[in-house]
Symmetry: C3
């Protein structure tokens, strides 16, 4: 089926925009190279790490469309920066859509390549959040996944649902849709009601 | 032989505990996800990097027992935090045992996969310390290996001994035991007598 | 042809010197292990990342000459630190030569292993600058590629020229020479005339 391919490209574009925007906010990174490089790393970092662990070649290395999607994503960030930041809701929606799509693509790919179900859940979350972790490490910030309420945890939950429904032989397309919706739902509820995970008690 | 497998699992558990404890000390990381994620990265980071360089798939991807060991290690850190930190000697012992075991497992695996003896020494050290390096980079600290007296150097020494004894056809089990003991010995003596490596003169 | 092999070894040596010097300037890193480790990571980081993405084994793992080159590079940094820093021009020349050589070796290798032309340009730049990025991340600094005027961009330009001339079937040796010279030229002009890339406007 062709759908996941376009979903993957769309996710790549969205993450490139989000990475470029993050860099353009910080003085040292905001020349054209810094913004593009950060967009690139955010977009491909998570998937590249996943593929290196799986022992397969990352898609962007062979398929020029991914680099095209990143270029468009970065250009959108540069040209429409003002509008994107004004409509924060839109941006939040795209970021949430991005992590949901990447998670499900990541779990599916991991299971396909013989990863154990429990590790596949982690690999799905990795695909979604590690690009951002690498981005934040590069710009010397505490990674977002540690600061944001229920961000990576939403990915883990959606990935777990996917693995579970897969065990019950649910059709992959329906399963993908359900899992994506669950991630979006958990993330949206967490932000709306300011839910956070319990902290480990430090006596 | 099955022994190294259980040794590897034990090392994984110990490192997960040590990573989770490090995160639980810092305010931003101490929700349940942050603590678990940091424990996970500390436990598998070094071995995963080694395996990506060797071109083989990391063990935790296919074998659920490693994720189980990490879960137990993180839970121990959360539940027994107070006691573990109280008995710093015990913690020190487990950390030292952890790096010693990981180093020897890493050298052995590297030699098995055709790495040159000198590179295998480095790969052994990498297996032991890079999980901690990634952990420290994530939490924005100067990696421990740069701060701690004779830490990675103890691993390099033990790894070098293993390679040397291997050249003299010493039995692998005896060799492993000797190398592990040498790492523990060097590390313990360095801490006890506050030994440090000489600094490079900066005129 | 044997030339690229010695070029690669020379580049490795130069980068090891540059990494060791960077570490020896900072108090926490300047014991012998810290300086050597930083030199090592700077020298092999970019190529190792490239090879992990390509799915091939990094050269230093099997070929002891690379570790020898790094050892010599680090020793040069320790013994001749004073002279190297005094002759900053010489150091600048070697660093520029290093990134130029690494870029061209990286593009060539990527094309050879079936990477698309556009991705090969990025991989060439990665080979040259990612060792430095990892080094700077380890020592908790903002990576040089974000701070330095037209550094990675010079690599991208030279890599693009290589790919272009390759399409016109220009001989590999001539092509390598031309591309290396272009990188050195762009970098030198950028530094001499303090050229910088335009910044992304942040309203």
């Amino acid at each position: 089926m062709q759908l996941p391919y376009y979903i993957d490209l769309l996710g790549t574009l969205v993450f490139a925009t989000s990475g470029a925007l993050a860099a353009s906010d910080k003085n040292v990174y905001k020349d054209i190279f810094g913004v593009t490089f950060t967009g690139f790393v955010t977009a491909v970092g998570g998937g590249t790490l996943r593929d290196m662990i799986l022992g397969i070649r990352p898609v962007w290395v062979a398929d020029g469309n991914y680099l095209l999607a990143i270029t468009i994503g970065v250009l959108l960030a540069i040209v429409f920066k003002y509008y994107i930041l004004k409509y924060r809701r839109t941006f939040f929606f795209f970021d949430t859509l991005g992590i949901a799509l990447y998670t499900v693509v990541g779990v599916q790919k991991s299971l396909e390549f013989g990863v154990s179900p429990s590790a596949a859940i982690i690999m799905g979350m990795f695909s979604a959040v590690m690009g951002g972790v690498i981005r934040d490490t590069l710009i010397n910030e505490i990674p977002l996944i540690f600061r944001k309420e229920i961000y990576a945890t939403a990915c883990l939950s959606g990935a777990a649902v996917f693995v579970l429904l897969k065990l019950f032989d649910v059709d992959d397309n329906i399963n993908s849709l359900v899992s994506v919706l669950i991630i979006i739902l958990i993330r949206t509820i967490a932000v709306k009601y300011k839910l956070a995970l319990p902290k480990v008690n430090s006596k």
